[in-house]
Amino acid sequence: MPDSSSAPLRRRSLFKVAGLGAVGAAGLPFAAACSDIQTGEGSTQATEGFDFLPEYKEWPLPAEPDLVGDPPNHPSGFTSYPEPVEAVTEVPSNSGTYEITVPFWGEAPSNDDPYFAALRDAWGGTTVNLRQADGNTYADTSVQWLNANEYGDGILLFSWMLGSHTNFPETVVNSFYDLTDILKGDISGRWPLLAGLPTQSWAQSVWSTDASDPESARLYGIPSTFSGGPGNALFTRVDLMEAAGIAMPTTVEELLEACREWSDDANGKWAFGGVDWILPQLFGLVGDEGWSWDDEQGKLVNDCEKPEFTEMLEFRRTLWDEKLIHPDAPTGTLDNGALQIAGTTLFSQENPVRWYDYTTKVRDGQAEGAIVPVPPIGAKGRKPTLKASTSVDGWTFLNKDLSKEQVEELLDVANWCSAPYGTKENELLEYGVEGEHFEYDAGGNPVHTEHGQKIVQAPVNLKQYSGKVQRFLTGIPEVVQAHFEFNALCQEFIVPSIFEGVRIEAPAASKSASQTLNDQQNDIAFGRAELSTIPDMVQTFLDNGGEEARTFYTDIYKSLNEQ
């Protein structure tokens, strides 16, 4: 992907975006109403139009992808494995030892595994020990680590984790190393792969020391890979559907019928184990942070104010009343993946990564059949809508207490980790050591061994330490092909963000109100409250932070679109 001038951003001048600094920082009317408390009043940060970022210099790809898409929402893919080439020809000679905090889900790999020793030797001698923490609670506990400055020399945060922080801009500028002076301008000499990262990636790694002053913007994070396209999908066990004679649904109404055909409560079969976060987009509820512009009303409206919101809750309630969802679904602790493998549930809401994971399990004899995503579907004859997030996956932030030399050493590692698919560096990082963590199959594709799955494939490790020059679909060829085609199918249904080019931290009151609204939705969905209470719960949301949020987001929207 070349640089930052992507289509969705061209409609606005940089001046407009830069002018956002004042919105939310100090001048919002509702902020003054909350006595002297300024914490949690919300903030905005422009993510484009900076002149202090690393200068983009294309890093030529070593191999052309077999399937050429339109990144970032439709990434290209490899269905064959290219002969890997060396990306970093001049390996630095370093000797520092650092500790980076990263999340893990499942089993944390030991730092003593040969995988990490091989990485250390390959990228020039820097020892990076992982301080691994449970991914399920990582976002919330990271708040305390950062406040106490107890996260080692760096921390990996995924972009979805920022919502757990009350005032993340303040945390960033006070806790993390300001990379601006080191990375400004032409860095292609020492870090050619970092120079090859999309300018958008770097622009999204900027925070301002003073939110009301756009001039105070600085570069604080090493961006992870720039991604786009549908991040979630509704997957179904296609083999079970065929066996039961159920056709792939093409509308929400057909989906409900499929659920009724499949489910058999008395015999322990249900359509869903959980359905809460995939369902809104099936009903067209794809507002940014819940908000979208309504031309008729001439204002921003929240998803919960739309009639489709009631339709969605009616659907969820039907699932519960007709016993089409697992009876323990309210606990929120079901292992939906395991239930789907066991054939207890038919559908699951998943990240597409699950597609590859399931297919691997089938190959290894740990699962049967196959899963595929349900194509985009809409309700009541409406056109389907999809949400896509075109942004960096996250950032590695370095501790402000490091010296410049130490930061440069860690950037050496980041440069090495940015090598894309088709390089030896990427092969070692993503697959490990041949013979120990992976083997080549008959088609010449690297396949993780059982040990490799535990140590390299499953954990986050350092695979997200810095972004790849370009993201590709890679892995099991037939899944890559199908995934590529699914992405192509989705393109026309993707609804662009109305707040493109700006990172928003919502006011605390609206976040709290949203949390309560979510709890109340579950009350209705699981039969603890009646559908007739929806107007009351919407009003409660609006009275306790929703209206404040509307003012806040409207200011941003107008700043972006009406100047």
Binding site: C34, S35, D36, I37, Q38, T39, G40, D140, V143, N147, A148, S164, H165, T166, N167, E170, T171, N174, S175, D265, A266, G268, H326, P327, D328, P330, T331, G332, T333, A508, K511, S512, Q515, T516, D519, N522, D523, F526, R528, A529, T540, N544
Partner: protein, 327 residues
Amino acid sequence: MATLQSEAPPTTARTPNARIVKRKRSAAQRLRHDWPLLVLALPVIVQLALFFYWPSAWNIIAFMDYSPHRPFWENPFVGFAWFERLFNDPYFVPALLNTLKFAAAHLLFLFPLSVVLALVMHSVVSTKVRSTFQSIVYLPYFFSWVLVVTVFVQVLGADGLVSNWLMSLGGDRLTFTSNPDTFLVLAWMQWAWKDAGWGMIIFLAALASINPSLYEAAAVDGANRWRRMWHITLPGIRPVIILLLILQIGGILSVGFEQYQLQRNAIGYQATEVLDTYVYYRSVIGTEGASFGTAAGLFKGAIGLVLILAANKVAHRLGEQGIYQKS
């Protein structure tokens, strides 16, 4: 009758009108005299200072718009603004009411259960039966709440043991573990299983201190089992009952956290939200910040202090020692 008592010491050394004059010792003399006691107390003082008094001093952030990234005294004082926000939050009062409801239920329905269990246990003569029963009742106290809730879901849940058995008989699933209307009963069952044994052990220890000869004497005088319990056992453990009652009243707003948080999704927030979970969701993992959570914690502490002092006062009025000796 011969007596073993010796003669009282002669008092002739003191003149009849002599006043007993206590010599006032200087601080240095007292230090020299009592230093071993002070050394013994030192670890406790250090522990209290480090882990109780110093953290307690930080409650002051409830009156500040606090950020850990600013020098402490640069955080602006905002008076009672956080308390105002707390009391204006429409979800605070329901959480407070839930807390009081669970506390009252705990006090009324679990506390007496522990006493009854202890009395039953005390009346069992067979040591073997007694130790077996004691172990069974006491063991769940060491289980974590995660395990307790899991066991209840596995047994009484919609997809649990009993539900599946009922389904096999053509019945319907139980909704006991996801029904907000019956959550209080479920919570009581969980307390009873997990905590009643612990309370029982404390009362058993108190029962052991009652002189058995009192029972023998009462039996000889013709007192039946109930009269022995009423006139000997219960008065014997009354100081312990009062002490535990006062302590429990002081912590009345601390009804626990894990039990409610773990079942929040299944039961719904309206039935399970207590002050501790409210603070957790609003402040710890929510977005209201540390000052808001501290204000809620301070409110809880202040109420607890008032209640414990009131209960102690009542205990003194009833002639009991309470949590401290009335001077």
